[in-house]
């Protein structure tokens, strides 16, 4: 390792220990590390935005392209300039034009992607589990697929039943429909609990891996220091 690597490793070692000091409670050392992280992140994002976006994509095209492209390149510059009017409440309305453009395009992309990329494909996939050809032999794989489809169907319907946003009638006795919905909701609760358990296991696994990564780094750094000192 060269000197820069040693300095970087030493800073990483110290900062890791400062973050671990949260174990004894919230303290100034942990706070300092937190503020450093936020400051460094903000500075890095600003540098990336200036050198990776603003300069090469906003200003450079104005000077290197032909005249028609230069005129087209002015539009994003003007719209970006209008956004600065949001600073003043008096002239904030001027910034509504670029804001409406941003929000509209973003919403269209997000909704379009959700419908064509998630909603319709997932509904179709759930339906395809029950698509058994008439001339298809009923073997174990088909049976397993049907069982899988039934479980998914029950889980979906039961979970939706649990999140029903209806209102019970004022009568003291439940109707038959309400009794059915309550029963389905109980089953849906089981599916929700399983989902949360799955999510928790994943988060625990990810956090544990991050912890191991940091502990491994500390141990390796100490070994390197000891190896350097002992020779």
């Amino acid at each position: 390792m060269n000197l820069a690597d040693w300095i970087g490793a030493f800073l990483g070692f110290v900062l890791t220990l400062l973050v671990f000091s949260y174990l004894i409670g919230d303290n100034p050392l942990f706070r300092i590390t937190l503020h450093m992280f936020i400051g460094v992140s903000a500075g890095f994002v600003a540098v990336v935005a200036i050198y990776n976006i603003i300069l090469p994509r906003l200003f450079v095209p104005i000077f290197i392209n032909n005249s028609s492209q230069q005129i087209l390149s002015l539009f994003p510059l003007i719209l970006a300039g209008l956004l600065f009017s949001k600073i003043s409440p008096r002239f904030a309305f001027i910034g509504n034009l670029p804001m409406s453009y941003l929000v509209g395009v973003s919403a269209a992309a997000a909704i379009g992607g959700a419908v064509t990329g998630t909603l319709i494909p997932q509904v179709l996939a759930s339906m395809n589990l029950f698509a058994v050809q008439s001339n298809q032999a009923f073997d174990a794989s088909v049976g397993l697929r049907l069982v899988n489809g039934i479980i998914i169907l029950i889980g979906t319907v039961a979970t939706l039943a649990y999140f029903q946003f209806g209102k019970y009638s004022q009568a003291s006795e439940k109707t038959q429909f309400q009794t059915w919905i309550d029963g389905l909701g109980q089953i849906g609760q089981v599916f929700i609990a399983l989902t949360f358990g799955f999510l928790f296991a994943g988060i625990l696994s990810a956090a544990l891996t991050a912890l191991i990564g940091r502990v491994l780094f500390l141990v390796d750094f100490i070994r390197d220091i000891l190896g350097l000192l002992i020779g």
Binding site: L23, I24, G25, S41, F44, V45, V48, A49, N52, I53, P56, R57, V105, S106, A109, A110, G113, A114, T116, G117, T118, P121, Q122, L124, A125, N128, T195, F198, L199, A201, G202, I203, L204, S205, A206, L208, T209, A210, L211, I212, G213, R214, V215, L216, V219
Partner: protein
Amino acid sequence: MEEIYCPQCGKTNPIDNKFCDFCLAHLHPQEGGSADSESISVPGIGENQNGLGGHDSDSNVPDWLSELQQSKEVENEEPLDSDSELGKPADAISDWMTGVSGDGEATIGEFSPAAPFLPDQEINESQDIPHWLNDALIEEETQDLLEDERLEEVPSASEEKDVSQGDSSPPKIRDETSGDRENAGPLAGLKGVLSAEPGAARVRKPRTYSAKLKVSTSQRAHIDLLNSLLEDEGQPQPLPQRRSISQQHMLRWGIALVLLMAILWPIVFTNQEMPLPDYDEGSAEVNRLISQLPENARVLVGFDFEPGLAAELDTAAKPVFDHLLSEGALLTLISTSPSGPILAERFIQSFQADQLLIYGLEYVNLGYIPGGAVGLLSFIENPQGTIPFTIDGLVAWETDERNGLPATAGISQITDYSMIILLVDDPDTARMWIEQLSPTIINPQVLTSLVLITSAQLEPVVRPYYESSPQPVNGLVVGLRGGAAYARISGGDDFPGKFWDAFGMGTFVAALLILVGGLGYYVIPELSRTARGQEKVKR
């Protein structure tokens, strides 16, 4: 020329006028007045009326009044000392006074102040009115004035209530059918009209209200309470005494110590005790896809994770990229996160010790795509127009006019890539990539495959995309376990065994802690409840 004062406006008029030239009020009392006014029997006034009006009323005058008139004429001819005359009130008025009901106050109350009077004969009440009557009139007028002033200065109880309670109820409408009959002025004889008495036109001092806010007792109590709260707010409050080491601290330190020991033990003292997982379907599918890549295949790699989970994703992705680079794939690195490009560069640098990767020739870093889903959609539809330069400012793409970088040669659209690999730790980012890419790559004619290397916490979100049909995600490596499975499948021996050992031990201890904690949560209260029940039984 003799003049007469108008009882209404107080201006002078010729005495012959019947009505005032200024306000058209009656200057003389009407003959057909009220019965009350007829019953007035003040001698002085009656004498003036006779003199002024010139009415011949001798036939109607009673005897006692005739005698009084005669005596008055004598007085006019021989002015007498009024004091001596008024000094004997009982003798002078005893007769006519007896004709009155005997109620002095009632008679005085019925006296019409609107009666005209001559300016030449200015009323000297001390001369024309008996002492006792003069005193009574003065006293009554004084009382009226005092009463008016008191009413002006002090609002009534109802007014005070209105002010304090902010009552906006409309004022009561005066019943005009009731009230006293007007006995003077042009409206004389009518009931329920505004009084034409000179007193009504008197200029009064404007009503004054106190500038102080009138508050009730309960409002005062609330004000005091608010003031005390505000005063207490500014006072420094002593911090509650914190126990230096609480039970919660002990529990937290105990769990941390157990976990750290479980992780440190395999790292420090052992080496590759736990076997790698045998098989993982998603990892095996990724291995198959990479093995089928053509030589010098172009692969787009998205680095969309935060530095906090770099350890997990770097470790999981390393066996995959070892295999990928061994197949001679050319990489294009990109990210929708600002920190992604530097993480990508760091990741690629970790391979430089084993395998030299030349920038521009074997890999290129396009940097950061701004705009989230919109920017990503733009890149998918037009990569060259969206990101024309690399992160170093070099021209990234090959065009007719100029040569690009070898790593991106032959790429004009997203489907020219043989594979798209996405390293991601956030469910929203993963879904954004899949949703924007799937309409393009779910096409039988498109040979581009999408592979995800994700954090373990994303598995519930991304697995449905992998297991559905049609399949937008063709391969899936999930967390450390997926990476370890891939290393075993690909036969690589460079997977960090200590990492896997520590992960296995740590997971086991964490599960044990959860189990013990859950049991303790239910068992300890039950045991204490049972012990209390037994104590009660013993007692």
